[in-house]
Symmetry: D2
């Protein structure tokens, strides 16, 4: 059985530990958190796990084969690098790091050592995103024209990252997974309406090499929770509404095209059926944990590997730079295309 | 009774003519349209109106006191200027003109001649916008933080204007009416996904002097029709959903603020009641027509006067310039504040 | 061209007259209404039609080939019988009559004279009901288990009929069209919450020979308007929500069945896809008028013929009797099966 | 600390045990379940609790002060009576018993011994029902005209009870809590569409002494989950939609009344504002457990005491009898009014 060390048992760490236990294929060997209260909660739920307040000690422990990192973002790089250097496989909570250079170094280190480096972009493992991904892969949507997401709610305000690093990161991960083209530039604007707090509202536009556009509306200060994404393709269009209890993904056989040789009615419309496929109800976090274990055992490249995490961090960094210039577009020339 | 001349009896002209008749205070004296078929339709519905294919002839007619212009946008300026010079009051379909300089000239001409110049920004006369306007005026929302609008649907693609001039114009008119601060810059991006057609999707960010931000998402190529606006204020927040048959305007007593002196929980939330006021069911177009007649008779300044129309055109032009630069922000330094 | 006489130009008559004109295949020859104001409105919209305050005079007029009756329910029988005896084809606003015996007499009279007798059950001509009817006809739903409808709103209170005769009539017509089995009994309860007014709320259960059940919830005193029908079949289930602007009809590949030979988990569930077919956008009233004209010309039996109207009136009468006995079921033994 | 014995650790027992632990004011002393697997699950979550396969043994244990019964319905009476006779306070999962006589005996036994007898009607402890209860208590709704509930979904089919005893029980408990008048008769119809299974669809009408009517639509074989209740009052109306993530309770200032002395327009309408109060987010089950402990300690009468449970069982039994007679109404003459 693979021995897992959990680094950070605050908000997300308990979920990771529980998912590990649910796989039945790995064991929560150790839990490390500087907070005694956190360690106390871990003891109740994982009585056989060893506890420590020293994260680096856990990372060195020979019984720990792989480390899952769920600490504040600014600590991801140091802990992940230490774990890789100690020969451990590493899963990092999103975003992978707080800067692209650090992300690149982690990717290189993992590659050199032949270790699995994975980022917990949980949404990629949901039935909804998997279904949309299949649609795109089969060509059912045709060329992707746009990805347009609204991801707003009231709170929770973060103190160490702004709303882009907290919410847009989900869309960047989904976009990296779904859109076959390469993002070439980002224009973003942001504002903070609570004093001495990070930006809590932002709008981001991503330009793709193929002409597609993505747009994200993220906000911690909205009256209600909205999680709605429209995806327009040349053949079909999708509405993905994560707040629906059923029918989260609707696929519309609708579109418009120019009639050749016409003058009066330039554009013709297609208004066909809609269907909402039954989605897998498997828990996304469990699927993510299973993917991590599978890749450790087989050496396969994870669906959300380090390079995926790196590309997402590069987009986050570019978006941040654009916000400082009121939407002036920032190029993403070096960004590699998702395979 | 005020004699009205209708210039253009295509898509919108019949609605204007019908609204004039419904006021009971004015008469459709003439209808001018170059299309014989259009004149035929006008004859059936307004049998006592005179018909002509020559728009300038109608504009000169002594029985016509005021002209309503519902022709293609690029003809607005010429027809409106001719009408003002002939001493007629003028109402122009939105947008007022296709360029800010022309709008300014119309405003000046009307002012010099003491004539009423008004633009048909119909949304301003809806019960929904009037209710929100009252809320803002009473200070119930507090400071306005943001205005965030999604205005998307499938079609109708226009051939002479793009989606910004067709759909964003509604939001610019509402924003000019609601937001007391001055817009200082616009960043916009747009794309066309139908060959040889104007841009059919755009995202626009408007920066206000007070720090408020507005964001518009307009799209002719969406699978479903969405008309939803979120307005965030320091005291309350609003959702205005025009697709609802009831409860179009919801007001939330919700927000967030920084707790002074705290470290652990930086931000506190307010999660109070929501209420949806009963809205006036009076038809907006009728109210607009009555406002035009009232101002002709009293010399009052219309709610949507020429200056309002001019400011909206300036925003449209700035947005268009920004789209040509992939979201590079365009300043609106000269724009006057709505009174 | 078939000459049509409109009997009653109050609420519904103008719609019938307009639909006749829209067919292009018939002419509004006369309009009869005792109210001078109503005749004035008719004159404006149908300037070539002759007007009279004497309904029986119009019915006798040789230029009138067919009569459309949109007068209060209690007058339907007398006017329709007079028209049939004068050799005219007859369309009657729903419900056909206020009593089953009268309905039967009209059916017999029309049959003996070879005239078309039709009832304006408009819903049967909507794209939504036609689509569901096709599904049932193709066997896609399997055996129909239940039809469960909620049809509530605030007002309009009628003074001459109660909510069953005003709203449940729509469902009875749809059920007669969709459900191949024979209704055998009805249990209904009703209440009035406004003094000196007819019952404004009722719940009705209809038992079918095949074991299917229908249930209707009709109410004039509900806070919002709901028009939602669930139809359960052995193979698929339908939600028909008439308040939706799109996706009025959703078809679910869902169900439950008993696993043979199991003890622990008795019932297995099927949770498949949903789809929402694109519906015909043709106006239902126009389709109804065309059906009337087609049957007059060809002698065909209308989709909503007199027998259909008669069966609906028999159900209405049985439901009324049951409400007087607090839901005691009333047999419908004589009711013929819809062909 | 009060020692609690959990009888039955299948579907609901674990929730009760967890709620007991969450109160911090009682201890899960013992868990009894005949299934070894169930006891294994209990051991993991409540390591300090003693386990037994003999329910009567646990009931006799001196360390057990109170018993929570979450076994199949037909065993409730025997176990609860044994516990009362052993001097234990008792909480029973809904419904209290499978027959009114047994419920009455439990109530008498508890009263004679001065023990707390309570039924777990969890909905009564939700923020939504508490808010509506406050509205009714303050008279804000006026006289209650109707209670109209739709409670449908796909599965879970029960094998020992039908849909009335599984789902309508929730509404009966809420109605007993909310409606001050006395129910006098019930008319109900039911059907089973899965062979050899209990009835999975039912419609119930409850007649109240004051003239109010309640209607319930319960169904295990619906394509989607609906939990919607309309409550009509003389002053205001309520929509309670439990599937909404926010705004579960909406209160409408709407209604209709007869205009005295009018002829033309008989009924006038009131179309005022709607508001949705912020609801308590406290977990209902925790509140229920705290109420049980409070009443054990103070001798107070629980909000959902045995008499409340008894009245609900009497309604369930009357509804069942009516279904056997196709909706023939069954009198509830002996039913006591909720205090």
């Amino acid at each position: 059985m693979i021995g897992i060390g959990i680094a950070g048992y605050g908000y997300w760490g308990p979920n990771l530990a529980r998912a590990v236990a649910d796989t039945g294929a790995a064991r929560v060997e150790m839990v490390a958190d500087m907070s005694e209260a956190a360690r106390g909660r871990a003891a109740l739920r994982h009585p056989s796990a060893r506890l420590t307040g020293d994260l680096l000690e856990m990372i060195q422990d020979p019984k720990v084969d792989a480390v899952m990192i769920a600490t504040p973002v600014h600590t991801h790089y140091e802990l992940a690098m230490a774990a890789l250097r100690a020969g451990k496989h590493v899963l990092v909570e999103k975003p992978l790091t707080d800067c692209p250079v650090k992300a690149a170094r982690l990717v290189e280190e993992a590659a050199r050592r032949g270790l699995t480096l994975m980022v917990d972009h949980t949404f990629i493992y949901t039935g909804a995103v998997q279904t949309i991904s299949d649609l795109v892969g089969r060509g059912e949507l045709g060329d992707i024209y746009y990805y347009d997401s609204t991801r707003v709610n009231l709170g929770l305000f973060q103190s160490d990252v702004n709303v882009i690093w907290d919410l847009a990161v989900h869309d960047f991960a989904i976009m990296d997974h779904l859109i076959p083209s390469r993002p070439v530039a980002i224009s973003a604007s942001a504002a903070s309406f609570v004093s001495n707090s990070p930006e809590n509202m932002a709008h981001l536009t991503v330009y793709y090499e193929c002409g597609a556009m993505a747009h994200l509306n993220v906000n911690w200060l909205a009256p209600v929770k909205i999680r709605q994404t429209l995806i327009g393709g040349s053949r079909k269009m999708v509405i993905y509404d994560d707040m629906q209890t059923s029918e989260k993904v609707k696929i519309y056989d609708r579109g418009a095209s120019r009639k050749p040789g016409t003058y009066e009615h330039l554009v013709s419309y297609r208004l066909g059926d809609m269907y909402a496929p039954a989605l897998s109800s498997k828990e996304a976090l469990l699927g993510m944990a299973q993917e991590f274990l599978r890749c450790i055992e087989t050496g396969a490249v994870p669906l959300t590997d380090g390079r995926n995490g790196q590309r997402v961090v590069e987009m986050l960094a570019a978006a941040s730079r654009s916000t400082e210039m009121r939407g002036h577009p920032v190029d993403l020339v070096g960004l590699k295309v998702a395979s």
